[in-house]
Assembly symmetry: C2
Homo-oligomer: 203 residues x 2
């Protein structure tokens, strides 16, 4: 299967500003991208990164497109004939097993919802399906599929359902991450701190 990973290299992960400097956010977001590409490569997916800036990587082709996410992904979908996975670059908990559960679905459109009604990953096997990431994209993607008569499968994955946007998400990377992003956080001095009823991150 082909996979495309949209990546914003211009101002990555601004909502992590309370925890990380701009340079740190750039390095951490790149570590997450590399984890996603490694997990996709491990299941045999041919990867393209759809990046807002030029990017060096040995494991994916890079398509530079600085248009908004929805437009860039839809142009990419226009350009390919085969079925394709669209996987966000900040799924730092992605593993080959979790991605296999996504790609082994048979529906025309498979969706992994993220927290707050977003769409963290898709598999598109219907040539009329186009994305709309603005607002509550999970409901929109279900509606779009319904309108074109495409069957939908929703994949139940905590790993793929966890996108790393906000400070509270970082503890999930330390708890469950198995790749470079988790190592990057540990090297940057972050650790898990136990509180009364849950754990949080501490630096």
């Amino acid at each position: 299967m082909r996979a495309v990973v949209p990546y914003d290299g211009k101002r990555p992960k601004t909502r992590l500003a309370p925890m990380l400097t701009a340079d740190e956010r750039a390095a951490f977001s790149r570590a997450m991208l590399d984890d996603v590409l490694a997990a996709l490569s491990a299941i045999g997916a041919g990867c393209s990164v759809l990046s807002t800036v030029p990017l060096d990587t040995a494991v994916a082709t890079v398509v530079v497109d600085d248009r908004p996410l929805t437009d860039a992904v839809n142009r990419f979908l226009d350009s390919v004939e085969e079925s394709i996975a669209v996987v966000m670059a900040d799924l730092a908990l992605a593993t080959p097993d979790a991605l296999t559960r996504l790609t082994s679905t048979e529906a025309d459109v498979a969706i992994v919802p993220g927290r707050g009604g977003g769409t963290n990953a898709l598999v598109v096997r219907h040539d009329e399906f186009r994305v709309d990431y603005h607002g509550g994209s999970y409901l929109d993607h279900r509606r779009i599929a319904r309108e074109i008569g495409a069957s939908v499968s929703v994949v139940d994955s905590y790993r793929l359902g966890t996108d790393v946007d906000e400070p509270a998400d970082l503890v999930e990377v330390l708890l469950h991450g198995e790749g470079r992003a988790a190592t990057w956080l540990a090297d940057a001095g972050f650790e898990v701190a136990t509180e009364a009823d849950r754990v949080r991150i501490r630096r």
Copy 2:
């Protein structure tokens, strides 16, 4: 399989106070409990509710125990010989499919982590395993299993990984819930409101 669902009927869901009155929290938490019991019953599990207060339900036996969660669950584990699922009462997105993925594991201990390092569901097949829900219980349960030589499986489920504790969790129930809790929220006037990059709940 036997399943035990701990339920605090005394002061349920206090962190939802910004959104719901005490009476509403009681009704909503009961709707979530009923959803969990219905999903467990649908996969053939014999259910016990381990409740801090007496409770009327036709689909489960009720064991009243007002001790802290960890003590009450461990006493229950002491009392049964067979393998047992321990499922939190606020997993309002639980479905029979998701629970089947949990109960069909073969490890001595199967764990579904929740957001923030908690333990949302367990299957215990090792007679020495005991729980410790205080603090970051996911890491503690892995450690406890390691110490007694029990094999561990971690189940990757967004549905079971989502416990409903805080106002932001309510939107997940509206988006993905299929039972009484989702209906209760809709009847109480809650709806999904689309913002720029995600959806939130509105009343």
